[in-house]
């Protein structure tokens, strides 16, 4: 409880103290470390100019996993026990460019240069993430980095070169000593940070979290800070107390039990992706387009639900799949259907001393046809205009069960119960679907806003039902969001 944030900066042990806990990592780097290579482009995690890489010891194996995040919406204490790598760290001891930097120069991949450090760091993370190469992988890795000058072509060429040349770098060479430093930084309790009337708690147990929650009714819960970060950078809010759920062991757990996938509220999109995709392949594609690598590395499904956004991407498919949420306080625990958690625009069924503990997702029963479609102005890293999710079971051509949920159509993510009723028991064919689509039109009265008009939303929502029908019957459906062959 010494109040110091201990982490590894580059390859060296580092300590930060005496700063308000909602100081962003970006502000810390630029204002306190004179590391000005990392840039602020938007201060909301949407442009990637501030991308840095975090290293964490991966299990007990002594490997380090490197993940790109947006430093503009990470709070300094979130670094505790981690390795922070910025663009300044990449050059070799002799001043030689890192292979990522070298390839960027060779391919003329910078013009104005302002977004470049962010791209370099995203590519650094891609290089260390022994994933697949190819255009699609590069697009996904860079979806969170905006460049206004190059049109991306030379950056893609550089990325392909980097992946083709893969080899060890100085961070690989220093792995063993870095792991030691990381373990030392992570030793013992996570510090509580107090400064200027602000407190930051990062409990390691659920019990600890619940007690703090009971004591600090006005505390802001933060998991990945991909949303709460903006409350600070954009709304200029000052949090009295912050409860960081990101270190609570129980909330970081992901497990399958009794036909249910339990996703701890602090499990990141990134960490949940494999299990979700295994059971619900359609969720893999949705997750790929949710935020960006940087956002998915920090953000959590729990946060996406707890914030109650009407256009969060995860609630519609989770509702369609029959998801439930487990809520807990020092007084006890309860479980409710996810659709009942959202009680109105900006309101959730969550009591002052409660926290969202986990999401309970039933594993798909045999024969379940499940899909989710997201419409947005831009395919990657955009927020839904409309998101429609469908879970259907047929029995001899007839609809035995169907659950439909939409985002972007009401003040909350909402089930299409009338439409479901219009389909229940009917033969699954074009005319039933057309009749149900008419019911769907009566179901919602969406708003016109910056993302889309009510007319578009209504029409598109109906068409998504048609698309689902085509999908289940082998019709002509192509996902344009994916690179075409």
């Amino acid at each position: 409880m010494d109040g110091a944030v201990r982490f590894v900066l580059g390859l060296d042990a580092h300590e930060a103290r005496g700063l308000p806990p909602t100081t962003t990592v970006l502000a810390y780097l630029r204002d306190h470390c004179r590391r000005v290579g990392t840039k602020e482009g938007c201060a909301e995690g949407d442009c990637g100019a501030c991308t840095v890489v975090l290293g964490e010891v991966d299990g007990d194996g002594g490997a380090i996993r490197y993940r790109a995040v947006n430093s503009c919406i990470q709070f300094l204490p979130q670094l505790h026990g981690k390795q922070l790598i910025t663009v300044e760290d990449l050059r070799g001891a002799d001043g030689a460019l890192h292979p990522v930097q070298q390839a960027m120069v060779e391919e003329h991949a910078s013009q104005c240069g302002f977004c470049t450090p962010g791209f370099v760091m995203s590519l650094f993370a891609l290089l260390h993430d022994a994933g697949a190469g190819g255009r699609a992988a590069v697009d996904d890795a860079l979806a969170g980095n905006l460049c206004r000058c190059t049109g991306y072509a030379p950056i893609i060429r550089a990325a392909q070169k980097i992946l083709a040349r893969r080899g060890a770098d100085k961070f690989d060479a220093a792995r063993k000593t870095t792991v030691k430093k990381l373990r030392a930084a992570n030793d013992g309790e996570t510090p509580t940070i107090r400064c200027n009337g602000q407190s930051y708690f990062a409990p390691r147990t659920l019990r600890g979290l619940l007690q703090l929650r009971a004591r600090h009714a006005d505390a802001v819960l933060v998991a990945g800070a991909t949303d709460a970060g903006l409350w600070v950078t954009k709304q200029l809010r000052r949090f009295g107390a912050v409860l960081d759920t990101g270190r609570v062991a129980e909330l970081r757990r992901l497990r399958e039990r009794d036909g249910v996938l339990e996703i701890g509220a602090a499990v990141t999109y990134r960490d949940a992706a494999a299990a979700l995709t295994r059971h619900y392949p359609a969720l893999g594609e949705l997750l790929r387009r949710l935020g960006s690598v940087q956002v998915r590395n920090a953000g959590t499904i729990g946060g996406n639900i707890a914030n109650g956004s009407p256009i969060g991407d995860m609630p519609p498919p989770l509702i369609a799949a029959g998801g439930r949420v487990a809520l807990r306080s020092v007084r006890g625990a309860r479980e409710i259907a996810l659709e009942d958690f959202f009680t109105g625009y900006g309101r959730q069924d969550l009591r002052a001393d409660e926290v969202l503990e986990k999401i309970l997702l039933p594993l798909p029963p045999a024969g379940l046809r499940f899909n989710v479609y997201k419409l947005s102005k831009r395919f990657d890293q955009d927020i839904s205009i409309v998101c429609g999710a469908f879970a259907l079971r047929l029995q001899k051509e007839k609809v035995a069960a169907i659950r439909i949920a939409y985002g972007g159509m009401a003040g909350v993510p909402k089930r299409a119960r009338r439409t479901e009723r219009a389909l229940a028991g009917k033969t699954w064919n074009e005319s039933t679907v057309a009749a149900a689509a008419a019911a769907l039109e009566q179901e919602y009265t969406p708003l016109s806003d910056l993302r889309g008009s009510a007319a578009y939303r209504t029409l598109a929502a109906k068409n998504l039902l048609h698309r689902f029908y085509s999908d289940t019957t082998g019709g002509d459906v192509v996902n344009l969001a994916r690179p075409l062959q």
């Binding site: 590391r35 000005v36 840039k39 482009g41 909301e44 949407d46 663009v87 300044e88 460019l97 930097q101 960027m104 120069v105 060779e106 003329h108 910078s110 104005c112 240069g113 302002f114 977004c115 470049t116 370099v120 590069v138 697009d139 996904d140 860079l142 979806a143 905006l146 206004r148 000058c149 190059t150 049109g151 991306y152 072509a153 030379p154 954009k234 200029l236 947005s376 831009r378 395919f379 990657d380 890293q381 927020i383 205009i385 910056l450 993302r451 889309g452 007319a455 578009y456 029409l459 598109a460 068409n463 048609h466 698309r467 019709g475 002509d476 459906v477 192509v478 344009l480 690179p483 075409l484």
Partner: protein
Amino acid sequence: MTGARPALTTVHQPLPHDSARLHVTGEARFIDDLPEPRGLLHLAVARSGHAHARMRKINLAPVRAAAGVVRVLTAADIPGANDISPKGLGDDPVFADGLVRFYGQALFAVAAADRDSARRAARLAEVDYEPLPAVLSLEQAVAREEYVAPPLLLERGDAARAIAQSEHKIKGRLCSGGQDHFYLEGQIALAVPGEDGAMLVCSSTQHPAEVQRLVAQALGLADGAVTVEVRRMGGGFGGKETQAAQWAVIAALAARACNAPAKLRLDRDDDMVMTGKRHPFVSDYEAGFDGNGRVQGLALTFTADCGFSADLSGAVNDRAVLHADNAYYLENVSIRSLRCRTNTVSNTAFRGFGAPQGMLAVERVMEHIASHLGLDALAVRRKNLYGIRKRNTTPFGMTVTDNILPRIISRLATTASYKKRRVAVINFNRAHTARKKGIALAPVKFGVAFTTSFMNQGGALLQVYTDGSVHVNHGGAEMGQGLFIKVAQVVAEELQVDISRVHLSATRTDKVPNTPATAASSGADLNCMAALIAARKIKQRLTAVAAHSCGVAESAVAFHNGEVAAGKTRLSFAALARRAWLARVPLSATGFYRTPKIHWDAKQKRGRPFLYFAYGAAVAEVVVDTRSGESKVERVDLLHDAGRSLNPAVDRGQIEGGFVQGMGWLTTEELWWDAAGRLQTHAPSTYKIPACADLPADFRVEIFAAGRNREPTVHRSKAVGEPPLMLAIAVFNALAQAAAAAHGKHAPPAVDAPATPERLLLAMQKTAAA
């Protein structure tokens, strides 16, 4: 020069950007990266909460009382003029003075010890507004004849009669939205007061000389007391041509008032709300044509949303008019241009400067004619292209002397297999209902020079030191376009020294004065030429020194690859420089270039506003999902003319980047204002510029190999900054075709820009109902 080293060729080489290594290591300094001077104050600007209102009262007491606040600055604190109009019109206040004319207008600035304190305090003012009726649509503006500049009419022949007498006629309307520049580095300025009233302003600006003038004007100083510096911008695209000035002026006002350095860096949301954008246009057209699609008469009306003040809207709309022909000979044409004043942010320069909107309209006309006649749109375009010897004068009387478009189009149509793929698209559309495809070829002809003739001047200052190293300054500002490396290449080549010997530093008004904005694609044309002229002066002096000291004729002196041969004597360039110094010969020279041949008669609307045209063409193939309106650009082929490219790597970057930026304008980038006139798309979370995956999977880019400027530009190169943006019109036309294909063969193109999923889907829907 037998036995001399081979000449060094530095121009036309694909050298990396001079700052490439600094970019990738994060060592390239932008203004916010500079070490902060002691006692630095941070500024924030308060925004108005109404689109049009009188401010009855404003209570700043809570602002002044807020933690960390040092000073609050309002219109009353401006010692000089409260105006940043680039034309001196007095319609562009630094701070609103009594009257608010758009939502987000600057009301006052707060200087505080840190940036967040300033931002917090700026939100605390209590303003008592008396709302006034706001003009928020072009219809309202036209009805009230609210214009920032008088309407303009350019005519040749008799369009109305020609249309009336034509065998075929069409009529239509195309709306195109604005576009935010979304430079990654937002607006920023750092002002440092000097001795005796002097002021140094580091500004992220494309136009340091204008910032200098406006800072001096606001502070009541002589221009000579103000120095403006810009080493590099994190992108400009026109958004920092005039609109960087306000923030520089505010920083300087605060620095002056507090006698302390002051920095103003806009938050992204503030930047997007408070700075102008590309002009939204409504383009009405009426065309008459023959059975082959050749236009006999065309009448166009451009109605542009200029926002609350004139800014550069006059010139922007002029350029739209001057590019309404694009690549086509229009014998009988009338082009009317209305420059509307609305209660929105003042729209400004944006890469292309009106030309994209002008071209988009005539390209829609070509598509509409083709669908009307059931012809291939490329065949219609070919029928209308400017001729080589005939049909080769523009509506404003300029002869198109170097029309290489027929060659470019032929080559591109072949390399892109246009014919074959068009058939495949038609067949695809017959076979599919859930998806439709489109393929389009669009040409670009873009006039190069500022249409305001006097601005076509460039200056440079070149200095050689006694070790033979060279230092160059010029009037151009680097914003990523590779201007500095091009200048360095030209100087290195002329002096025959290695490029590593040529040093460039920040563009400053005290090094090269009275420069134009780095804009209109003219940066390299003007500044490379000015640097070349300076280098020639120095070279001439060095030649004289070499000749004199070696006792040979000047004609026997030659510069080759770091060496100078004078008869039989060989000297290193450095030794010669030292020799010149000892001989008391000045090793510093200025270069000055004015673009020749250009002239413009504003009354007659005739002349030669451009020195030459740059050309290019694009083929784009797209697919649209008929249920969602989602679309994807599958393949793009570009062929673009850069003259003899000064640096093919840099130019390729401009072509690729310009194209994608244009694609963003026409597809995903949508600005959305609510009914109260508030911009709701003011951050990357809501305003979507292209992302990596939007680059077509199959993207083929070629620089026209035979390119060579007929005009004596620097090494026969051509400007390449803006023209490629308009290649993206091919994408838009292909999307409109695909949407029309949802309704059979002859449906006219009906999609407005940007072609978002919503516009595409509703267009497909609407035409179906009709």
